[in-house]
């Protein structure tokens, strides 16, 4: 498990006036599910395109399974499966024909690709739709078939670019399970996403990329330790009471109150929050408390702290493409 599937050293790419990627370094272990997280325009797609050989880096080196892809981009393509951020199969071919065609691109024999296509159609719940044209598929079905096409040749390394963007919740859940299963079966997965929760659920290690630079790269556990020293409680209240939040800091040293919504207050503290005493104090101040809920720190908190980018803003970047969470 300690062999490196991907080694990236000092890779940079500039497009005329824009420095898309500014000298990044990272490694991905064999069998790892590695998350690459960042907002739109951060350099995620440029990085993935350089890794798969669709874009040439201006500087630096890329090794995939020990093969130098910066000088010989074609040499490692048989080891890679690629699922782009948009479903790019052929609308005029059926699901089955698309899969067998993709298998043929990797030199699979007629018999082998037919058997594998049928296996994948069943595995992805598309068995009955296999004879229908891809152009008539729903977004979720298109996404699933695109992932199936990416693994038709059983690649040891899979690049997934925003796999659940723009699809319904049920399909997104199914796809996440399929990704987890693939990884469990030994496939190294490089996943780019702007869904922080998705990265938190799936990845063992995560890199945050902002403006072409990796600002933090660590295991999920290590990233989460970042927030382990902080405690937060959210109260459902009869009114938001910004005045109450202002008084809170003076009355309760170390606590910081924030009105989240009209009827929600969030209180953060470096020490465990004494909820009972706090509820009593709020109610004595004339605000009724209907619920108090302890918040577990999330990767989103870490992301905001490290990058300074609000997670909501990042997801709104992709709002046009739909949900998927």
């Amino acid at each position: 498990m300690n062999d490196k599937a991907i080694i990236v050293r000092g890779v940079a790419k500039r497009f005329t006036a824009v420095q898309a990627v500014a000298g990044i370094d990272f490694e991905v272990d064999e069998g790892e599910l590695f998350g690459f997280l960042g907002p739109n325009g951060a350099g995620k797609s440029t990085t993935i395109n350089m890794l798969i050989g669709l874009t040439r880096p201006d500087d630096g080196t890329i090794h995939i399974a020990g093969i130098d892809c910066s000088t010989k981009p074609k040499a490692a393509q048989h080891l890679m499966g690629v699922v782009p951020d948009e479903s790019n199969l052929y609308p005029e071919l059926t699901g089955y024909e698309n899969l067998t065609f993709c298998g043929s691109l990797y030199g699979m024999s007629k018999h082998a690709r037919a058997a594998r296509a049928r296996e994948l159609l069943d595995r992805f719940g598309l068995g009955e739709a296999g004879g229908r044209k891809f152009g008539g598929y729903s977004k979720g079905m298109k996404r699933k078939l695109t992932i199936a096409a990416g693994i038709i040749h059983s690649p040891p390394i899979l690049f997934l670019d925003e796999p659940t963007t723009g699809i319904d919740v049920a399909s997104a859940l199914q796809i996440r399970q399929l990704i987890a299963d693939l990884n469990t079966a030994g496939t190294t997965i490089f996943l780019t996403t702007h869904y922080i929760e998705e990265a938190q659920r799936l990845c063992r290690r995560i890199a945050f990329i902002v403006k072409g630079r990796i600002v933090r790269i660590d295991t999920l556990d290590a990233l989460m330790r970042h927030t382990n020293g902080r405690h937060a409680v959210q109260f459902a209240v009869s009114r938001g009471a910004p005045d109450l939040c202002e008084v809170l800091a003076g009355k309760w040293p170390g606590l910081r109150g924030q009105v989240i919504a009209e009827d929600q207050i969030r209180v953060e503290s470096p020490e465990p929050v004494r909820v009972g005493a706090l509820v009593r104090w709020i109610e004595e101040s004339g605000v009724e408390v209907s619920e108090a809920r302890q918040l577990r720190p999330s990767l989103e908190d870490v992301f905001i702290e490290i990058t300074g980018i609000e997670a909501d803003a990042m997801e709104q970047d992709k709002a046009g493409k739909g949900g998927g969470q």
Partner: protein
């Protein structure tokens, strides 16, 4: 990696998805027939003119049959990003593009023989030198396809590819000696004629069917082959520069 499996399936997929569709088959048949009929009626010299017109009509059929298809098989697929899937296949760019253009070449060759079949019913074709005609048709199809490829990889939209194709194709009808000799062109236009590969292909076709060649056949074949290599090399360079930069 068995590259031939990928190459054959790229060709077979394009054939199934694009070339063997009824609109293309009808275009491939109707267009050459219409051209043949038009020039036959216009010449007004009866069946004797068929061998004189045949080389030009064959060349037109190949030219239009090949160049128009690349806008779909390359530019359209690039626009829809399905071309990326091909670029990710572990085969060389040279093999990939040869597979991608093979369909257009075959389609162009087939188009060339539609007027020949028609002419066979109207006149005696026993004097045709097939040994020079068939290689010439193939080389014309290859060079025309690669002109289409160069246009297809130089633009981003399908309509741009079609517009540019017409920009090249229609002047070639008059500049390449298809229906009247280059000697009849103004002197200042002749260098342009000799810069176009179709001029050499048409000269071979004329010499294979009804008259001696204006240029030595070996020179025409060599220049036609050279233009194929040059156009293909420039197209690959464009792809590397624009699509894998």
């Amino acid at each position: 990696m068995k590259a031939w499996i990928a190459c054959w399936n790229i060709l077979a997929k394009d054939m199934r998805a694009y070339y063997l569709k009824p609109p293309n088959i009808s275009w491939g048949l109707i267009f050459p027939l219409a051209w043949t009929g038009m020039f036959f009626v216009r010449s007004g010299s009866g069946l004797d003119s068929v061998p004189t017109l045949l080389p030009g009509v064959m060349a037109v059929s190949v030219l239009f049959g090949t160049t128009s298809m690349l806008a779909v098989t390359v530019t359209f697929e690039k626009k829809g990003r399905s071309f990326e899937r091909l670029l990710l296949a572990p085969i060389s760019l040279e093999l990939l593009m040869l597979s991608k253009t093979a369909g257009a070449i075959l389609f162009g060759v087939a188009n060339a023989f539609v007027p020949v079949l028609l002419a066979a019913f109207l006149t005696d074709l026993s004097g045709i030198n097939w040994l020079t005609l068939i290689p010439a048709v193939i080389l014309i199809a290859v060079s025309s396809t690669f002109i289409g490829l160069l246009i297809a990889v130089s633009v981003a939209e399908v309509f741009e590819a079609q517009t540019f194709s017409n920009f090249f194709r229609f002047p070639m009808l008059f500049l390449c000696g298809l229906f009247f000799p280059i000697a009849q062109l103004p002197v200042w236009l002749r260098p342009l004629s000799y810069a176009l590969p179709l001029t050499y292909g048409t000269d071979i076709l004329h010499s294979s069917i009804h008259r001696p060649p204006h240029l030595p056949l070996t020179l025409s074949f060599a220049l036609l082959a050279f233009s194929c290599i040059l156009l293909f090399a420039i197209s690959l360079q464009k792809i590397r520069q624009n699509w894998i930069s």
